[in-house]
């Protein structure tokens, strides 16, 4: 019996101790009418047969060189990251409620919080949320608790569309008004609304959905001048070279969220990733999610424990800051090891390599006949390429050449039919970039013929 260790004689002894002769008697309190249905599941497999089937299913996914981003990025993950994160002591532990028996997880989480506060130049980081988009929804709810209910959130039209959908799903349940902020068609960057505005917060995406960099100082100051909170949405890798949100504008962003996946998390078709949330200490009691603190034990030894648990659902129930219970513990453990393995210098080198290779590809593509750059302005590692043909047709054809060429903006309901959002990371070698150009040239030629 897979994973059930009982021998027949042991079962008999256990039944005798309980005073039953048949395991069915264990369910004698269940109304009989509720039992006895056929369970339509296939028969079980041996581990060997299962392994083979899993390999076949994995092989049925086409291996592709990845030039797609849009909130999920292909990066190198040092071998030690999952070697350690996969250790049973991390992998099979529960939430660290019993602090004395969980100092490993707790210290890692404290280090994670420290890495993230240093990266974003904020004071407090929680121990993670589900993903970047749901973390943004939680940040908006937090902003409303700080600013008073009934106000609106300003949501940029150039925020990733899936993130906007998540905001509508989650905040819509409480009928919170979400007001769009338009972007400039020439630059793809945000255009600030004129006149009065008494919304609770402005979301500032640095990087926006087109890969472009926003004028974050001006946006932050604009929000603060209107007594709004500034909610920064950032890529943690890009922060190795970009200005930390804690020092945006005169006062710095108030809440910072982002998708943590670029920090050592496999793409895995979109999850599990983790969302991060950092803020000022003054706002910590309105922050959702778990938080780890450094303290001392009865003998004065340094140790770590969960803190401010009274904000959370298991104590505060209906009045909690959020219904969230789990965080993305294992992902955060992997991310912490990843951040340590890269170190400050390694993170910067990775970010620089992403930017360098992205610029290189953009330069290489400048000669491809018919392509245009719809948006001017600086970018990090992602940009929009306007093709003279349907971007979808080009992308699908390039799949056959083993290349995932990017994301068709039209599938997001943005941009034009020819717009392809292309992402280049440090994984792309110079040879990969040349292959991309050549494959694109050939595909455009084939499809035009």
């Amino acid at each position: 019996m897979p994973y059930i260790p009982h021998g027949a004689d042991e079962v008999a002894q256990m039944q005798a101790a309980i005073g039953i002769t048949d395991l069915e008697a264990l369910f004698d309190e269940v109304p009989a009418q509720l039992e006895g249905h056929d369970l339509l599941l296939p028969a079980g497999l041996s581990e060997m047969a299962l392994r083979r089937e899993l390999e076949e299913r994995a092989a049925a996914n086409t291996p592709l060189r990845c030039f797609a981003g849009g909130g999920a990025y292909a990066h190198h993950i040092p071998a030690i990251v999952w070697e350690i994160a996969g250790r049973g002591e991390f992998y099979t532990a529960y939430t660290p409620y019993q602090a004395e028996a969980s100092q490993g997880t707790l210290q890692v989480l404290y280090e994670y919080q420290s890495f993230l506060t240093r990266l974003t130049e904020m004071e407090v980081a929680n121990a993670s949320l589900y993903d970047g988009a749901s973390a943004l929804a939680e940040a908006c709810l937090m902003a409303l608790r700080l600013q008073g209910e009934g106000k609106a959130i300003l949501v940029p039209d150039n925020l990733l569309p899936a993130w906007r959908e998540v905001l509508h799903s989650i905040l819509g349940l409480q009928e919170i008004p979400l007001l769009g902020v338009p972007y400039d068609r020439q630059t793809g960057r945000l255009q600030l609304p004129e006149g009065e505005n008494d919304s609770a917060a402005l979301i500032i995406p640095q990087i926006n959905a087109f890969g472009g960099l926003e004028a974050v100082d001006a946006l932050t100051d604009w929000a603060h001048a209107r007594q709004m909170l500034a909610i920064a949405v950032v890529n943690p890798l890009a922060l190795a070279i970009l200005k930390a949100p804690g020092v945006w504008g005169q006062g710095g962003a108030d809440l910072v969220v982002g998708e943590g996946q670029p920090l050592g998390i496999p793409l895995s078709a979109g999850g599990p990733f983790f969302g991060f949330l950092t803020c000022r200490k003054a706002h910590v009691r309105q922050m959702p999610g778990r938080l780890v603190a450094r303290t001392v034990d009865v003998q004065g030894r340094e140790g770590f424990c969960l803190t401010l648990q009274a904000r959370e659902q298991h104590i505060r129930r209906g009045k909690a800051t959020s219904n969230i219970c789990t965080n993305q513990g294992l992902m955060v453990i992997a991310a912490t090891i990843h951040m340590a393995a890269l170190g400050g210098d390694g993170l910067r080198q990775t970010a620089v390599a992403c930017h360098r290779q992205a610029r290189r590809l953009r330069d290489l593509l400048a000669d491809v006949p018919g392509v245009q750059w719809p948006f001017s302005g600086p970018f990090f590692h992602e940009f929009v390429l306007r093709l003279p043909l349907s971007a979808k047709a080009v992308r699908d054809t390039l799949l056959e050449r083993g290349i995932l060429a990017g994301i068709c903006l039209a599938e997001w309901g943005m941009g034009e039919a020819g717009d392809l959002l292309v992402c280049v990371t440090e994984l792309a070698s110079d040879a990969d970039l040349l292959d991309y150009r050549d494959a694109l040239l050939a595909t455009l030629k084939d499809l035009s013929a």
């Binding site: 994973y3 240093r118 600086p378």
Partner: protein, 486 residues
């Protein structure tokens, strides 16, 4: 002094040049200076071996299923098969970008589609969405569907969600997050719901009821059929919190009990790892009438056996998207592998042996003097002890028993939940533990009981043999040192 200093102590490789001074030579000159980082990033730069040792050492300061018996009630800490982990980490899955077009990810989509089908079969429901990232997100999706259902019928006054007092804290928190007012319904002395209180609470403003069955009190709610009739009769819907599904897995389907919508905790019932607090996965399953409202995306199969995503365009009444992509795919892959390995017979065995272990442990612990909270009742897959006798005798509390267990190399059961039972220990052994492990637990508990009566100080000061003793949580909250500052 912490014997494992923070990773920030490893700072000897720091590059002394200020970051901003290098921007031009690094090829960042196309980005305006005002957008670039000013100060160097104050992160450490340890060597690879230092990183490896540091985090390996930290791992050794944890209890885990792999190293310790972990009878944590309500959390289903069963063995996490490694084949599931190995499968999920195969490059063909791990390197898939979420924006890969469906024709290039047929292997994955097939896995997800099968999992949807299997979960529907297990739950007795019509359809499944795998996207919720955790149990609490599944709850939010579930109550959001109840809200959408009533609204679609123009039934706008149904603003109240009924929840037993003993429910998990996530239930009222999720209901509130979905815009409902919460009405608590008490449980009777035998652990079952108080039907008179239920009747009094039901009315035209009732949106539904959220129930866990077996309940958080470790017993099967025997009146479930009557409860379903009454709630449905009042126009409400029934939400099933799948936290305790392991107790009835493969035996009783929530759909047959009358539930309209539910979530499963794949990280409990389907043996995916808890990972120190996540990631979980909280797939939701619904009956026919709630199907249009399921969160997106879902996976469909066409008549040619090809798989594709269903998203906003295909599902106009959906409550929408809960995360940026399709949920915790890596967790779903593990759950699929677990179900595939067990198959029909293996799944049916789970609840039988989970119940066997729980009932055996309860009887043995009662025999050595512990008090059951519901001695007249059959245990589900877990049960509650109350140590009020030790408290009366010597001031020993459930927390003291829990901390002393750690000294014996056993993870503590859940304590102080459900809040209804004073000084309680909620114990869930799971089906993957052997009789020998359970017998050792009984021996240790017997010994602790003796210590509680003879040398109570030993318990009050426990644990004695772990890297740290009891921590000053008041200091932690007052000082609030939550990040090491550069």
């Amino acid at each position: 002094m912490n014997p494992t200093p923070l990773i920030f102590a490893y700072d000897h490789h720091r590059d002394p040049v200020q970051a901003s001074a290098r921007a031009a030579e690094e090829g960042l000159e196309d980005i305006p200076q005002t957008l670039l980082r000013g100060d160097a990033l104050h992160w450490p730069n340890p060597s690879e071996l230092e990183v490896l040792r540091h985090y390996t050492r930290l791992s050794q300061r944890n209890f885990s299923i792999d190293t310790h018996f972990y009878p944590l009630g309500s959390c289903t800490m069963k063995y996490n098969p490694r084949i599931a982990h190995e499968g999920a980490m195969l490059a063909g899955f791990a390197r898939l970008h979420p924006q890969t077009p469906a024709p290039a990810m047929q292997g994955l989509l097939r896995v997800l589609w099968e999992l949807q089908e299997w979960l529907a079969a297990i739950t007795g429901m019509a359809a499944v969405s795998l996207t919720p990232a955790a149990g609490a997100q599944g709850e939010l999706a579930g109550v959001a569907m109840i809200r959408a259902y009533h609204q679609a019928r123009g039934d706008h006054q149904r603003k109240r969600m009924l929840i037993p007092t003993a429910a998990h804290g996530t239930n009222p928190a999720s209901a509130r997050m979905a815009g409902f007012a919460v009405v608590e319904i008490p449980n009777g002395p035998d652990g079952d719901l108080d039907l008179a209180a239920l009747d009094a609470a039901l009315g035209p403003d009732t949106a539904g009821i959220m129930l866990t069955n077996p309940s958080t009190l470790g017993v099967f709610e025997r009146q479930i059929v009557q409860i379903a009739e009454r709630v449905h009769g009042a126009g409400g819907l029934l939400y099933y919190d799948g936290a305790n599904l392991n107790a009835i897995l493969g035996r009783v389907r929530p759909g047959d009990m009358g539930f309209d919508v539910m979530h499963l905790n794949l990280h409990k019932t389907l043996a995916t790892p808890h990972g120190g607090g996540g990631p979980g996965a909280g797939a939701v399953a619904v009956r026919e009438r709630l199907l249009p409202f399921l969160p997106q995306p879902r996976v469909a199969r066409d008549e040619h056996g090809r798989y594709h995503w269903l998203d906003a365009g295909d599902l106009p009444a959906s409550i929408g998207r809960l995360s940026a992509h399709a949920g915790n795919i890596g967790v779903l892959l593990r759950a699929h592998a677990y179900l595939r390995r067990l198959g029909r017979e293996g799944v049916e065995r789970v609840s039988r042996y989970a119940a066997l272990n729980a009932n055996y442990l309860l009887k043995r612990l009662q025999a050595v003097g512990f008090q059951a909270a519901f001695p007249e009742r059959r245990a589900s897959h877990e049960f509650i002890l109350s140590v009020t006798d030790l408290q009366r005798e010597n001031g020993i509390r459930a927390l003291d028993v829990a901390k002393r267990l750690l000294d014996y190399g056993i993870h503590a059961p859940t304590v102080y939940f459900p809040q209804l039972v004073p000084e309680c220990l909620l114990i869930e052994p799971t089906e993957t533990e052997s009789k020998a492990t359970l017998d050792r637990f009984v021996e240790v508990m017997q010994k602790i009981r003796q210590e509680a009566l003879e040398t109570p100080q030993l318990l009050r000061e426990a644990p004695h043999h772990l890297p740290v003793g009891r921590l000053d949580e008041a200091l932690a909250a007052r000082r609030l040192d939550v990040a090491d500052r550069a």
